[in-house]
């Protein structure tokens, strides 16, 4: 599937912001299943400095600072990608979860060494509650890892209520686990914490969903905004993405932006502002398929603004 993605973030401040610094994970990364044809960021103000370099996880990442007093800032990201369907993966063919653990104890290849870091708690998935007991329900001895992880995803989907009113971007995973409710980000964090509670690697994926469903299909939750899910390491298939919000193995309808240990590593736009007093953020996301129904590629705004 070919997509056009537009992600517009608008900040409005009550008073002048004299200086601001931002870190944006808004451009899309290449993956084995995703080809990025174009991905760019346009700012409504000329930044005083700007650096564009991949982060530790090889996600495209943009650092910029604004020195002029302002009450309004718009960050526009526009991308054009093609997502391929994942290969068939029979969950029974993956290694058992104990074998995965043992393999990571003495990691041999680059991929295994990379996977190790995703076994550990990260700032937003650190937990005190007994998430391990919850996770163990899906991982009896000898179970193939992918089978266990898929069941875990089903259970999170079943046990946790999708609710946009009970959490915010800083809600700790323990709280989500306690109230059994949250948004896609929270459910992804629960999945990650559960896997890690058994010493299994899991990472956080930030991305998008198709905004308008194909005719006759239901609209998926999490469209119209950034979406998030988690990914498990299931050799021999490598990383497999699971979306607990929609209870499905991620396929062609998901566009990947970035991945990291948790939301904190890949927040779409993080910022520190001086002044401003109070602020509101508006986020608008469009994901439009480029297919028979839309033969024309939507017009990408010419780069009038500074880059």
């Amino acid at each position: 599937m070919e997509y056009f993605v537009r992600h517009r973030t608008t900040y409005r401040y009550l008073q002048d912001v004299s200086h601001s610094w931002h870190l944006a994970h808004l451009r899309l990364r290449e993956t084995p299943l995703q080809a990025v044809h174009d991905s760019r960021i346009t700012l409504s103000l000329e930044p005083a400095s700007r650096a564009d370099r991949p982060d530790y996880f090889a996600n495209p990442c943009e650092w910029f600072a604004i020195d002029q007093p302002h009450t309004h800032l718009e960050v526009l990201a526009e991308s054009h990608v093609t997502v391929s369907p994942p290969p068939e993966r029979a969950s029974r063919d993956s290694l058992t979860w104990e074998e995965v653990r043992a393999a990571l104890e003495n990691p041999q290849g680059e991929e295994e060494r990379e996977a190790v870091q995703f076994q550990f708690d990260s700032p937003m998935t650190r937990f005190e509650s007994d998430i391990a007991a919850y996770a163990e329900g899906s991982f009896p001895p000898g179970r193939p890892l992918l089978g266990g992880a898929m069941e875990l995803m089903h259970r999170i989907h079943r046990d946790f209520r999708y609710d946009t009113t009970v959490t915010d971007v800083t809600t700790p995973v323990d709280r989500v686990f306690e109230i059994r409710a949250g948004v896609c980000q929270d459910l992804a964090h629960v999945g990650i914490a559960a896997m890690r509670s058994l010493g299994l690697p899991a990472r956080y994926i930030s991305g998008y969903l198709l905004t308008q469903p194909p005719p006759g299909k239901a609209r998926l939750l999490g469209a119209d905004a950034s979406h998030a899910w988690f990914s498990v390491w299931a050799p021999p298939f490598g990383w497999v993405d699971l979306d607990p919000t929609n209870d499905l193995v991620v396929g062609e309808s998901h566009v990947t932006s970035s991945w990291g240990r948790d939301y904190g590593d890949v927040a779409p736009v993080a910022g520190i502002i001086l002044g401003g007093h109070d602020h509101v953020v508006d986020v608008g996301v469009d994901v439009i398929p480029v297919d028979d129904a839309h033969p024309e590629l939507p017009h990408i705004a010419p780069q009038t603004g500074p880059r």
Partner: protein, 839 residues
């Protein structure tokens, strides 16, 4: 040495004894000092101990304990008996600590660079990428000169066999250097004879090498070098103040710095000044709220970007926490062989990482005699929030939980051996005692190799258990004396260092935040004096003129309390007044009370400790220190209270005298004095407004009391004898520019200070403060005393207008000064909005 008393020491070889060998003979390097101690008369020893203790207290040497209920800072604990090391012992320690400092630096260079140690299988990747202090944004960034560690510390202790072991290492922001230096200054003064005769190695050359090496890495030595502290609430803030002063650095907090275009600047009164080097005492992950912990208010947004572009030297470089983990100890021998081709000269305490099958098996077998802790928990063993547990203590649910963690997530745990620490002598009541100790040794990077400070910070356990060595849990400290075989180097950092100094009439330009704090120090100090004087006026009348006391309390104390969170509602009778006075004077926390105000003075002074002379600091300390105050519930006691309030008035006067006579007329003085003047103008106008704005049968009495509160009674009598009338009174207190206790005097001083400021700040700032000040002064100058006293149906409209005007303008003026000079922009985080669906 039979005259050395028999120590009460544990059974032979259970612990290593620094003082005695196995036969009970005093070891050779201790003999001279042991003799000195036993030859001092008990009185002389007690005198020296008391004087050392007084020096520590007077200098304000403290160690803040965050959750200490008694207050935020408590005196540093120092045992005057030094820890003495022989030249041979020291040689072994020195070369071992250099080896480890080199290793720390090389490991950091590798893990933030090529990661060959991981690739070659020397270091499990878990220990690096699983470490919460592995700061990913730094990967691929090379610090200035490729130096990661500029200051390294190792905590050493002896096992029962006398062999040294390393208990912990620090390479991120090692602390203790300043305390070690202060300990040295105090103890060397306490035993001047021994210190000279015994050829104790000196420390100054080390500090000089440390400073010069870091400055040498910067782009220009003309630019500013700063010491970055987390601020007055940090447990080691005293040390930051002390080191900044000793090393000649500007003490700054994160808010004082700004990153522009890949370079770091200090926000000063005269604008932005480039910073070449930052001596960092803020933990790495708090240093840049954008790229590391977003919840940190201590850092500087953009600092990591400045490091990337090579615009600033950070010492230590960011990210050093990775090598501090106990798990790293398990692999250090292998890393040492791989990187240096050498075995470790001093090993760590035996450590097993539970991330392997073998490690978990060993851990299960040994846990009852060992400590289990988080693999990355570098906190001192058993300090607050330490994860360490004695395996043998584990039972029930906690044991189950830990065993499950070991099973599922062994890679997050280590097992460490506990052995009794060696003991060093204490000396009490003419007898030697013995307490477990550890020694923190520091190494500094220099371009020509590592240099170890000959000495260190010795920590003395509060009791005999292994739990007791953390400073936070009440341990004490000692100076460490290294006996040198060669003549000692008497280099001093305080000398001119051979350079010819240029004449300067001003210090370096001051950070704006410090000026803000000095302005408020002036205000709070003046507010304290005013409040104390009102309290004294009331307290001195409660027994002889109770009706008058009650009247003043209602007129002044009740309205004064309205600005607090717990205003006084009513004082019904004299009995209630006594209770209220007791509360106002002695309640430790009540927000309308004196003690809370004193707390603010202390806190504000503490945050600008580096800008106050020792005498000034001691005077403030004398005002704010909590002596043995009576209980807030106890009955009111007139004589004691009079004594307390008189002493406070005298100490407040000493403080204003010191600042008037001893502070250079630079920005520090100007802002502090301006704070004082603004507060006093406000207060005087308020006093007059409260008491004589309307006619009252007790008017003469009010005038007398107000003259007393405003310390103008003598002046009044010298002019008008004992005739009390409103017109001359109003003139003296409000309008007479010659009376330093009049409103007009304050307004004139404020105007003149504001005229001075552009000369200091070199920049044109907002005119608003000057406009307000000129209007205030004009209003007072144009006022006529008789018109102010004019009375219309019991009210004095002219007086009300003038005093109300001054009170509200003073508040406006204070805000305008802050806006113009202190740049109060608050910092906040912005997210990109929640991930959610609009359904």
């Amino acid at each position: 040495m039979s005259d050395v008393a028999e120590p009460s020491r544990p059974a032979a070889a259970a612990r290593f004894d620094e003082l005695h060998d196995l036969d009970g003979t005093v070891r050779p390097h201790w003999r001279a000092f042991a003799r000195t101690l036993t030859q001092l008369s008990p009185e002389e020893y007690a005198r020296r101990k008391a004087s050392a203790r007084a020096t520590v207290q007077d200098n304000g040497v403290t160690y803040n304990v965050y959750d200490d209920k008694a207050g935020q800072a408590r005196p540093w604990q120092l045992d005057i008996v030094p820890f003495i090391l022989s030249a041979a012992d020291w040689k072994a320690i020195e070369s071992a600590v250099i080896q480890r400092a080199m290793l720390a630096d090389l490991i950091l260079r590798d893990v933030y660079g090529a990661q060959n140690l991981i690739r070659q299988g020397v270091l499990p990747p878990q220990l690096v990428t699983g470490h919460p202090q592995f700061l990913r944004p730094l990967c691929g960034t090379r610090p200035a000169g490729d130096v990661h560690v500029h200051l390294y510390s190792a905590d050493l202790a002896r096992g029962p066999d006398g062999a040294w072991k390393v208990m912990a290492s620090r390479a991120d922001a090692p602390s203790g250097l300043g305390y070690a230096l202060e300990n040295r200054l105090v103890v060397a003064q306490t035993f001047p004879e021994s210190f000279g005769e015994m050829r104790v190695a000196r420390l100054a050359a080390f500090f000089n090498a440390y400073r010069e090496s870091i400055l040498g890495l910067g782009q220009s030595r003309r630019d500013r070098a700063v010491l970055l502290t987390p601020g007055p609430y940090n447990e080691a803030y005293f040390e930051h103040v002390y080191l900044a002063h000793y090393l000649g650095l500007t003490l700054v907090q994160g808010d004082d710095l700004a990153v522009r275009d890949g370079e770091v600047f200090l926000k000063t009164l005269t604008g932005l000044e480039k910073v070449a080097a930052i001596f960092r005492r803020v933990d790495s992950d708090f240093c840049d709220p954008l790229e590391f912990r977003g919840d940190s208010a201590l850092g500087v947004p953009g600092l990591v970007e400045a490091v990337r572009s090579g615009g600033v030297v950070l010492a230590n470089a960011l990210g050093g926490g990775v090598i501090e983990s106990p798990a790293m100890d398990a692999y250090l021998p292998a890393v040492s062989r791989a990187l240096l081709g050498e075995d470790l000269k001093i090993p760590d305490i035996a450590t097993i990482w539970c991330g392997t099958e073998w490690g978990r098996k060993e851990a299960l077998a040994r846990m009852d005699q060992s400590i289990l802790r988080n693999a990355f928990d570098a906190r001192p063993l058993f300090s607050r929030r330490s994860s360490a547990r004695l395996g043998g203590d584990l039972a029930g649910a906690e044991r189950e939980r830990i065993l499950a963690q070991l099973r599922h997530r062994g890679e997050t745990m280590v097992l460490q051996e506990v052995s009794p620490l060696g003991v060093a002598p204490t000396f009490e009541d003419g007898k030697f005692g013995a307490r477990p100790v550890s020694l923190r040794v520091f190494a500094a990077w220099t371009p020509t190799g590592w240099m170890v400070m000959p000495g260190g910070l010795t920590r003395v356990a509060a009791d005999d258990t292994v739990r007791a060595l953390s400073m936070q849990s009440g341990a004490s400290s000692k100076d460490a004396w290294v006996i040198s075989n060669a003549p000692v180097d008497t280099f001093t950092l305080l000398g001119a260092g051979g350079r010819t100094l240029e004449i300067k009439r001003q210090g370096e330009s001051a950070p704006s935040r410090a000026m803000d704090n000095l302005f408020w120090l002036g205000r709070y100090a003046e507010r304290t004096e005013s409040f104390v004087r009102i309290l004294r006026a009331v307290a001195s009348r409660v027994s002889d003129e109770p009706a008058s006391a009650l009247d003043v309390a209602r007129k002044l104390l009740i309205p004064f309390s309205q600005a607090s969170d717990s205003p006084i509602e009513e004082i019904l009778d004299e009995h209630e007044l006594l209770g209220e006075l007791q509360l106002l004077l002695y309640h430790p926390r009540n927000s309308r009370g004196l003690q809370r105000l004193l707390g603010r003075v202390e806190q504000t002074a503490w945050s600008v400790r580096d800008r106050l002379s020792l005498d000034t600091w001691r005077t403030i300390h004398a005002i704010t220190v909590n002596e043995q105050l009576p209980d807030a519930e106890a009955p009111f006691e007139v004589a004691g209270t009079r004594f307390y309030l008189d002493a406070l008035v005298r100490r407040c006067a000493a403080l204003s005298g010191l600042s008037a006579e001893n502070m250079t007329r630079g920005p520090n003085w100007l802002f502090m004095d301006m704070g004082r003047r603004v507060e006093r103008a406000h207060h005087l106008a308020w006093l007059v407004r409260q008491t004589v704005a309307s006619t009252d049968a007790r008017e003469n009495e009010h005038i007398r009391i107000l003259l007393e509160i405003a310390d103008s009674a003598m002046t009044y009598r010298s002019r008008y004898l004992n005739v009390f009338q409103l017109v001359p009174f109003v003139d003296l207190l409000l309008l007479d520019e010659n009376n330093p206790r009049s409103c007009a005097f304050q307004l004139a001083a404020i105007e003149s200070h504001l005229r001075e400021l552009p000369r200091i700040t070199l920049a044109q700032r907002s005119d608003v403060p000057r406009t307000i000040a000129a209007e205030m002064r004009g209003a007072a100058a144009n006022a006529h005393p008789a018109r102010l006293a004019f009375c219309q149906s019991g009210e004095r409209p002219g007086l009300v207008e003038l005093t109300d005007g001054i009170v509200s303008s003073a508040t406006e003026l204070s805000d305008a000064i802050a806006d113009a000079y202190f740049q109060h922009a608050s910092r906040s985080r912005t997210g990109s909005g929640q991930y959610l669906d609009g359904v």
